[in-house]
Symmetry: C2
Subunit: 256 residues, 2 copies
């Protein structure tokens, strides 16, 4: 497949290189900031970097739009691509209908995964969510997805939105709590490494049984005295204290 | 060592069996609810279950108090043990001074880990925090700890409290977010299994690099449009919506 990518962020970064590894050709990479598309194109065999959304002469059979949602609509309104190629976005929260003003066959290619540029990701074990505006498009995207992942699902726009919300809690917010934990330790010159065995056991237990039945700690034990001590310690950091309070209340409510 | 345990909850459950595996003798298990101490004593070779805190004739050399903090003070005030044996508690948040009314040598034996009865825990890889009221007591507890874990630390009461607060964020609250994620999915008949590759990658990345630099998602990207869509979806569940809002604000603040 001849593929072009709109976007040079974390998702585009990983997808472009994976597509190429699977013997597809990456023709073009667009980024508003040319230096970003150039950085990614240097990682690839024969890709042209550009900051121009006019692709009317492109030979690509598939355009993958991997942009932050805030940038998506503007980009789609300015994008010029040949009518016969497939256009797919990679967003968890945007319906396929966001592409409706384009006459092309449309799709979604959403990896349910977290990407950072300098961390390899095993997409083979990641869930890849596919949607197509018609059966032939769906088939082409499914085939491309199956080359990359062993866990490909047909997921419509409404279901995908739910997955994305669940993922924000399970991934983004979870990571933020680890960051807060790191900050609490570093403020007292204790290494974050001390938490690692505990974090690994927490996750292993939650995934082996299920998180609801794995809950431990002062809130589920209703250990008011500890909670009070912790709230007192956190009083100089109102933001962390508010998070402690809200999550403690939420746990107490769930297990009352 | 002849050891008796005060408490038959999750921590006592695992410690008693581990001590016995390391050739120590568990003489007695106390629980306010006799059926609980009996349940645990049946897992052990020759342990007496009791609901009586009068151990004045006990032959134990070490009493380990593994109780919820709310129950700790009452128990200590009623506990009768021979004066020469060591008494240690397992609490993250209680100082060693909580034992001050006892004339015995005192200590703390705090496993920085999450325990549920029906899940095996690898304590060998867990951090074990030790404190002693005097050098000989410290040495005995260190030796016992080193038999169980490869990651034993001398940690004083103030440091231990910080570790416990950091652990509540990294473990208890993290697990609760996974539960919320599970609830969001199950409400829409989607399996929680879909999240597992994402959760594993999130944790692997956070522990390999560090959580602060691993943050992804709409909040750190300041993707207001997605955040708005998610808040709208969550409006029928005010508790989840409040958590989404507070953690999103906290992430935006941290990376502004």
């Amino acid at each position: 497949l001849k593929i072009s990518l709109i976007g040079a962020g974390n998702v585009a970064w990983h997808l472009a290189q994976l597509f190429e590894k699977n013997n597809h050709t990456i023709l073009e990479i667009y980024s508003r900031d040319l230096s970003n598309s150039e950085k990614l194109s240097r990682k690839l065999l024969c890709t042209q970097a550009t900051d121009d959304l006019n692709f009317s002469k492109s030979k690509a059979e598939l355009f993958v739009i991997a942009l932050a949602d805030d940038a998506l609509e503007d980009c789609i309104s300015m994008l010029k691509i040949p009518e016969e190629c497939i256009v797919a976005h990679t967003s968890g929260s945007q319906p396929i209908a966001v592409l409706k003003n384009l006459p092309n066959p449309k799709g979604v290619f959403y990896p349910l995964q977290t990407f950072s540029k300098h961390k390899e990701v095993n997409l083979a074990k990641s869930v890849l969510c596919i949607e197509g505006s018609d059966k032939p498009t769906e088939q082409i995207l499914l085939q491309l997805a199956n080359e990359i992942s062993k866990n490909v699902r047909l997921v419509n726009s409404a279901q995908r939105k739910i997955l994305h919300i669940a993922a924000v809690f399970a991934c983004n917010f979870t990571n933020h709590l680890l960051t807060i934990s790191q900050e609490i330790l570093e403020k007292e010159n204790a290494p974050f490494d001390l938490m690692k065995p505990l974090i690994l056991e927490t996750i292993e237990k939650a995934l082996k049984t299920n998180p609801k039945s794995s809950q431990t700690g002062p809130a589920v034990r209703k250990d008011k005295q500890i909670i009070q001590t912790h709230m007192e310690y956190l009083k100089e950091d109102k933001d962390k204290q508010a998070i402690y309070q809200l999550l403690t209340d939420s746990i107490e409510k769930m297990y009352k």
